[in-house]
């Protein structure tokens, strides 16, 4: 029976492939789980209220990360505040207005290349341009602006991609009713691409939280406690930079792991809230 043979071989092949896939899934899950557990187990025991709400002092030997948490919040807010309007605006121009598709293609390609550049290069450029040329010194603002350049391509590209998913027929419908271009964009296209903007936001926040190289040069290492205005104009370490400093310069691995655990929880919270925001918008559109 020729047929029986073939089907037996096929069944073997199927089983083999299935096993291979199971193994890859198991490996991936195990790696992720190990990483998360390792960091949490090592970090969580060192997190206490005084750790979260205090500031470090070399005199008393106290270690607290409130300044770093605040610095992170400031830098995320400042960077988003600049990068969102810029990125979304650029995306709208490129998809809706720009006539020369070749130039648009070149810009898109450049943006994609930019988003793949090692972040330390952004740090270098940010240091020379913002800190020295624009005389901002080493400050959170300089760091935030460096992050703006770094995240601009991401925000622009995700917004662009979601603008492209809004059907042409919606635009036609709006034009057919005598709507001008901007009205059409504002009322029909933009509501349809909120999810893209949100995706861009999550990716950016994730990248900002995780960024250390670009900030080492531009935002500095200080742990002083500031309000947002003073904070932006003075040097300060974000959580990730603080992690680097504690682990590398001071050998405080427990502190580093505690910060790592906090960062992980933060990332999770941000992702969840982004999903939630996306759902709210989706629901509002459905009503």
């Amino acid at each position: 029976m020729q047929e029986g043979k073939i089907s037996k071989r096929r069944r073997m092949y199927e089983a083999l492939m299935k096993a291979a896939m199971w193994i890859s899934v198991a490996c991936t899950c195990a790696l992720v789980a190990f990483l998360i557990l390792y960091v949490l187990v090592k970090g969580l025991p060192h997190i206490s209220w005084s750790f979260l709400s205090g500031k470090p002092s070399y005199l008393s030997g106290n270690i607290g990360i409130l300044p770093d948490i605040l610095n992170t919040v400031y830098i995320v807010l400042a960077a988003l505040l600049v990068v969102l309007p810029l990125g979304v605006g650029a995306a709208i121009y490129l998809t809706e207005y720009a006539g020369n598709k070749q130039v648009v293609g070149v810009i898109e390609y450049a943006a994609e290349t930019l988003s793949g550049i090692p972040s330390i290069i952004y740090g270098l450029v940010g240091m020379l341009f913002f800190c020295q040329f624009l005389n901002m010194k080493t400050s959170l603002l300089a760091g935030a602006l460096t992050l703006v350049i770094m995240n601009l391509p991401t925000v622009m590209r995700t917004t662009q991609e979601s603008l492209k998913t809004v059907p042409w027929s919606y635009r036609e419908g709006a034009f057919g009713l005598g709507a001008g271009k901007w009205r059409m964009i504002r009322t029909v296209v933009l509501p349809g691409c909120v999810d893209g903007v949100i995706t861009g936001c999550i990716l950016s926040v994730g990248r900002i939280l995780g960024e250390s190289a670009a900030l080492l040069f531009t935002a500095g290492f200080a742990h002083a406690l500031h309000g947002i205005v003073n904070g932006l104009s003075s040097s300060g370490a974000t959580l990730t930079v603080a992690l680097y400093v504690y682990a590398k310069e001071q050998g405080e691995f427990e502190v580093a792991f505690a910060i790592a655990a906090i960062l992980m929880v933060l990332t999770l919270v941000i992702n969840l809230s982004a999903v939630w925001v996306g759902r709210v918008f989706e629901k509002r559109r459905r009503i």
């Binding site: 006539g99 059907p167 027929s169 919606y170 635009r171 036609e172 419908g173 709006a174 034009f175 057919g176 009713l177 005598g178 709507a179 001008g180 009205r183 009322t187 029909v188 509501p191 349809g192 559109r285 459905r286 009503i287």
Partner: protein, 251 residues
Amino acid sequence: MSDIVTVENMCLWYGEHQALKNITIKIPQKSITAFIGPSGCGKSTFLKSLNRMNDLIQGVKITGDVKYNGKNIYDPSVDVNELRREIGMVFQKPNPFPMSIYDNIAYGPRTHGIRNKAKLDEIVEQSLKDAAIWEEVKDRLKKNALGLSGGQQQRICIARALAVKPKVLLMDEPTSALDPISTSKIEELTVKLKEEYTIIIVTHNMQQAVRISDQTAFFLLGELVEYGNTETLFSTPKDQRTEDYITGRFG
């Protein structure tokens, strides 16, 4: 009956390709004019050039005169948005916006500056009634229009077009994506609408042209081959090509 749209020696190019050749046609107001012809004959292109929807496509060049109420619509002084308010359009595939039924209908009036809630309510109700869909949706005006059936969506689109009080309604194969029952509803509606509006309809369906239109224009390869009273055109076509097409010899 006076002519509301008059076109003289109009040619249209997509880049190098000439899609319409020397079209001359006069369309009387408050009547239904059907454009028929095989796919790619230019009938939809011609329809879209009547309210300048072709402006949205790159590389379109138009020569000749396209006049609406005696004024050349391609004149630089013409406000395209105002023109499209007067010459509305219903598309081949129903394309309601992803918003509530109410917001869909109110979109046009809001675009043209009507903010008063009572006034908007009145326009929405009247437009939905005119499009023969009020009874079906009056209890769910706040629901998303995308939840309606295809036929209902198309009538929402007609209501949406009517809400800005146009004079002319261009319909680009409005029933080609619909089932027979929805189709006959839209046909009935169209016939009713001609009391107030001038309707120009592109159709693939020759029976539809016979059933509803007063005049028919037959397009072939970018030319207007024959134009005249629908009954005459279908019973005693003057041009051999028209006869071949309507008797089903090609197309």
